[in-house]
């Protein structure tokens, strides 16, 4: 009987070291003799640069070099457009250091390299930049008007491209509809704010011609490819390592932030390691942000609540540049129908340039926007048709037996068709409403109102296309002396727990103990092929690749063990780090098997004797390594998904609103999440809970604010209100498991899920609580006490 590893709530391998402060983040890596970089950044949003005078900075004691666009050689060019698309007619990307123009506050203009960061910052303050400010339009809707000032002179209406996606026959559906619901919603700009800001260190070794870069990136392999091509170095001479990384949430999938090319350049030129540790203010003004969209949504319904068509037109703030293409807006457009059949819909959208730091994916990547839009609209529809909010959804859910459910003509962010592979939507909503006890709640709500207390019930349903391709790989090897299992993949970990779940997958097949599986990733020196960590894809892509490799390794182990113990393969059982002959206590440890399968000339320990040429066990008639075999136990495989696999779930909350103070208290928060088969429920809980926390930020607290001139107003942790643990409700997390039919493990992604519906849950709960006051429907996230105050005032004036 084999011990199960897959599916167990095993504690995370990485935590003890991290909790003891023994992690190794980039700033912990000691690079003797390293210099330090700091940036002079634009203090105006849009301007012509008349002059940049760096002479005083250069003259400061301890400054090695000051870089501007004039002395970075071939790097003085727009950085890559990572995801080109045909309708992206006006793509613009930034230069590492501004030339002639600046486009947002925070844009890098010069880089100082000095003996330490203190001196570097002193020198930055000595750089004199003369600007000729240009007019800006910060309002997303006004920025597309014909007379709005242009961010890029050659981009009319500030529109990067006009996009349209459609499935079915939308116009026919609207012609047939008995009822049309129209709403307009708006989400605000936010930022991932990872606890560890971005960081990079580079060491050029002239003797070997090798460039080593430590980069807190989510995409080591892609960064390596980019650096090799920008600097014209052989790829195998560039090694990119992401050590411990303190959170990424998408901000670190964006490449290249200017420092990622300039720090290596400085190391190559100055012949010393160079470090750049981004500080919090820089992270607020110089690292990617996300979330602003304005949707105008119409849904075409029948009187019974069935939605037969949908039209959505939205504006997407992409910031001053669009290096990551339209990924965020594209995901919004293709996710707009959520869990509902809605067979006919058309989404048109425009990414719009605004003079702020670029927008690239942030946990959820377009899905929170789509979820807020469709779920607010479903609530509105329910109220207009006088139907129960749960019932409206039940009448529209894709049924359990309707999967796979394709949306013809809709291409997802992976370039493949949207096909929902599996789900149990109605069952999940029913479970949620039972867990809430909706009837009981209504009674409690009525009783509370009699005492002047206002409780509201809110909920939202979401789907998430996860596990996007193109592919990932997995390598597995058993160490011949220790018997430990080594696993490599091309991903990076920012705290999600890859090392634990990948170990479970490898252990399940090889019989190793989970703690004996050593997972190494985030190092291009460890595994050469793959893409990156994003789009809730690690478990799906790398997980299945590792599984496939482990299945191969298992076959090798079983065959070798059967040979060694002279039994049939069917009699072999793998567990506790050994192969056992079933029903006996005869065993061969994984180390012995790995040794025995590697034909040896020299013995170095007791087990290795049996693998040497004259040992009876390894006598061969032909080649000692048979044709087609690899030495030892070792396997590699890859997994490439046929298309995204669709996770889903529902959240609900009971929120009490104090109508006098306009404050809220979350009394209960419930979540049911389905990510297919769970590899490790503890890790799923952690991912979901972390997602909820960031969702709470977007629902009630966080917003990057700018004044009319484009100056950031709250670029620090005092004023940007990231929720504390005290603001995040203690969620009751329930699991549901609908396996994915698409991959051998049956898994779906879970990394982003928790974030998606939270703004809808808060909005609908507060709306429900304040219903007796007749407030207008809530259409903006984040909601704030000030906004609640305003709505109550407006309602009482009306």
């Amino acid at each position: 009987m084999s011990t199960r590893q897959f599916g167990e709530a095993i504690e995370r391998n990485a935590d003890p070291a991290l909790l003891r402060g023994e992690g190794s983040f980039i700033d912990d890596i000691d690079l003797p003799g390293a210099f330090h970089a700091a940036f002079a950044r634009s203090s105006v949003a849009r301007a012509k640069i008349r002059s940049v005078d760096v002479s005083a900075a250069e003259a400061l004691d301890g400054v090695l070099k000051v870089y501007t666009c004039d002395n970075i050689g071939a790097l003085d060019a727009p950085l890559p457009l990572l995801i080109p698309a045909p309708d992206l007619t006006h793509p613009r990307t930034q230069r590492p250091l501004a030339r002639d123009d600046v486009f947002y506050v925070g844009q890098c203009i010069a880089m100082v390299v000095a003996v330490d960061r203190y001196v570097a910052e002193d020198a930055v303050r000595l750089i004199d930049i003369d600007y000729v400010p240009l007019p800006v339009e910060m309002d997303l809707e006004k920025a597309v008007e014909d007379d709005a000032p242009r961010i890029h002179a050659d981009v009319p209406n500030n529109v990067a491209g006009r996009f349209c996606v459609e499935t079915g026959d939308t116009d026919a559906a609207f012609a047939e509809a008995e009822h049309i619901t129209r709403i307009k919603i708006r989400l605000e700009r936010s930022t991932a704010a990872p606890l560890e800001c971005r960081a990079i260190a580079a060491r050029w070794e002239a003797v070997t011609g090798e460039l080593t870069v430590w980069d807190g990136t989510q995409a080591t392999l892609s960064v390596r490819g980019g650096l090799a091509s920008l600097f014209r170095i052989d790829e195998d001479k560039v090694r990119v390592i992401a050590p411990n990384v303190g959170g990424g949430f998408g901000q670190k999938i964006m490449m290249f932030h200017p420092d990622e090319v300039l720090v290596p350049l400085a190391s190559m030129e100055l012949g010393r390691p160079v470090k750049y540790i981004e500080d919090r203010v820089e992270n607020f003004i110089g690292a990617s942000q996300e979330r602003t969209q304005i949707h105008t949504l119409e849904i075409a319904a029948m009187k019974d609540g069935r939605v037969i068509g949908l039209k959505d037109d939205f504006l997407h703030d992409t910031g001053a540049f669009i290096p990551y293409g339209i990924a965020v807006a594209h995901v919004s457009s293709t996710s707009i129908a959520g869990p509902y059949r809605i067979p006919n819909f058309r989404v048109t959208f425009r990414p719009v340039y605004l003079p702020m730091v670029q927008v690239t994916p942030y946990r959820g990547c377009g899905r929170p926007h789509a979820c807020y839009a469709i779920e607010r609209a479903m609530d509105q529809l329910a109220s207009e048709l006088d139907l129960d909010r749960f019932e409206v959804r039940r009448r529209n859910f894709i049924g359990k037996d309707e999967f796979p459910y394709p949306r013809e003509g809709l291409i997802f962010a992976d370039g493949l068709q949207v096909i929902y592979d599996s789900g149990a939507y109605e069952e999940t909503l029913n479970r949620l409403s039972e867990a809430i006890d909706v009837e009981g709640f209504r009674a409690e709500q009525a009783a509370a109102r009699d005492q002047g207390r206002y409780l509201g019930l809110g909920f939202g349903f979401y789907v998430e296309g996860t596990g996007l391709g193109p592919y990932e790989g997995g390598y597995i090897k058993i160490h011949p002396i220790t018997g430990k299992v080594y696993v490599n993949t091309g991903l990076t970990d920012q705290g999600q727990g890859h090392e634990t779940v990948f170990a479970q997958i490898a252990a399940e097949q090889t019989g190793a103990r989970v703690e004996d599986v050593i997972v190494v990733e985030g190092d291009t020196g460890a595994f050469e092929w793959g893409v990156a960590t994003f789009a809730s894809r690690a478990a799906v892509c790398s997980g299945n690749a590792i599984h496939k490799a482990a299945v191969k390794a298992r076959a090798q182990i079983v065959e070798a063990a059967a040979n060694m113990m002279e039994c049939s393969k069917e009699d072999i059982d793998l567990r506790d780090g050994a192969a056992w002959v079933k029903g006996t206590d005869r065993r061969a440890a994984l180390a012995e098997i790995a040794t025995a399968t590697n034909p040896l000339r020299y013995a170095f320990n007791e087990p290795s004797k049996s693998a040497t040429q004259f040992a009876p066990a390894s006598r061969h008639d032909g080649p000692q390594l048979a044709e087609g075999r690899t030495p030892g136990v070792e396997a590699t495989d890859y997994y490439s998904p046929p298309h995204a696999t669709w996770a889903f779930g529902a959240h609900a909350a009971v929120i009490e609103v104090d109508p006098e103070l306009c404050t809220i208290v979350v009394k209960r928060y419930l979540c049911i999440h389905d990510c297919g088969r769970m590899i490790n429920p503890t890790i799923v809980d952690g991912q979901v809970m972390g997602g909820i926390a960031q969702g709470v930020g977007g629902a009630f607290y966080e917003r990057c604010e700018f004044d009319e001139e484009g100056i950031p107003l709250n670029a620090n942790f005092m004023d940007f209100l990231m929720p504390y643990a005290t603001e995040v409700p203690d969620a009751e997390i329930m699991h549901s498991e609908t396996p994915s039919p698409l991959n051998p493990l049956g898994v779906k992604g879970v990394g982003e899920a928790g974030t998606i519906p939270v703004a809808q849950v808060y909005a609908s709960a507060v709306e429900d609580a304040l219903q007796p006051f007749g407030i207008a429907p809530i259409r903006e996230a984040p909601l704030t006490p000030d906004a609640i105050h305003r709505m109550l005032k407006q309602a009482s004036a009306a």
């Binding site: 960061r117 203190y118 910052e121 002193d122 303050r125 500080d279 919090r280 203010v281 006098e660 103070l661 306009c662 404050t663 607290y701 604010e705 107003l713 709250n714 620090n716 005092m718 004023d719 209100l721 929720p723 504390y724 005290t726 603001e727 704030t784 006490p785 000030d786 105050h789 305003r790 005032k793």
Partner: protein, 289 residues
């Protein structure tokens, strides 16, 4: 976010500290550093020298003497909050401190530092004003006592002069038959108040024989709500008088619209908080009677 160059000393006595401060106009005392260090890292402040007060034993400690609680300026906020004798002498103090930042910050932040910093939204200055406390200030060759009413001039501005050190904070014990309450609204637990109100109500024969109300977060400095106090004096702490007190509080909210709260919202907040804190203080006064 690295501070500009500065020199640092950690003298053992008030006299030594005063000497350094007198010799360098750009020198600043360093207490818990919870407000000063961030402003230096943002390079909003760039003092030439920091005079760290943490080694000066005379500034640390607290004592209840009769009806006054004497608190050394360097007393950590958390120590004051947890002091049993202080709690017995004036339970309002712990209630207020529970709203100041978070435990880890109160572990380092000092009572004197918070009051000298004088943020208009800070809770301790508001409490000092409500209780009618005072501070002791020392300079080379002199010492004076400044009543709370005369101390707070503007947001982050006090009547302490350059080179003067705040050495002690004096908080009156809770008078007999008096109830207390502090309540605030902040965006997150531990944030500065959007509005906060501190109330002390003394009851005699069911009517208010003394009322002291102060608010933070609503104006350019912590503010006594004199009109609200007057509305309650001699009246029962409820009904029509309480309504008038609550209405009168609105006009003290003079802060302009800001990113977290409109002026209108703040007016409503302070009004609601007056009603709630007075009611709670009155209940407690009855319990103590």
């Amino acid at each position: 976010m690295k501070p500009a160059l500065f020199s640092y000393s950690a003298p053992q006595s008030v006299e030594e500290a005063l000497e350094v401060l007198a010799s360098d106009e750009m020198a600043r005392p360093l207490a818990g550093g919870q407000s000063l260090i961030p402003t230096m890292n943002f390079r909003i402040a760039a003092p030439s020298a920091l005079v760290d007060l943490r080694r000066i034993g005379a500034l640390n400690g607290r004592a209840v003497e009769g009806d006054v609680i004497r608190v050394g300026a360097m007393t950590r906020q958390r120590d004051l909050e947890r002091d049993g004798a202080v709690q017995r002498a004036n339970p309002l103090i712990a209630e207020v401190l529970g709203n100041v930042a978070h435990i880890v910050i109160r572990n380092r932040g000092t009572v004197g530092g918070s009051i000298a910093h004088a943020d208009a939204a800070a809770e301790l200055p508001c409490m000092l004003l409500a209780t009618g406390g005072s501070v002791v200030a020392r300079r080379a060759g002199g010492e004076r006592t400044i009543a709370a009413d005369d101390l707070f001039l503007f947001h982050m501005t006090t009547s302490l002069e350059a080179g003067e050190l705040l050495t002690e904070v004096r908080i009156p014990a809770l008078p007999p038959r008096t109830g207390y309450a502090f309540q605030e609204v902040a965006r997150r637990h531990g944030d500065y108040a959007l509005a906060g109100v501190c109330a002390l109500v003394t009851l005699k024969d069911g009517v208010c024989s003394s009322v002291r109300l102060a608010a933070c977060g609503i104006a350019s400095k912590p503010t006594r709500l004199a009109e609200s106090e007057a509305a309650l004096l001699g009246a029962p702490p409820e009904g029509e008088a309480l309504g008038r007190a609550s209405d009168a509080a609105r006009d003290y909210a003079t802060a302009a619209d800001d990113r977290q709260a409109s002026a209108d919202y703040r007016r409503d907040l302070v009004s609601a908080l007056v009603r709630r804190t007075v009611t709670k203080a009155a209940d407690r006064a009855r319990e103590r009677a």
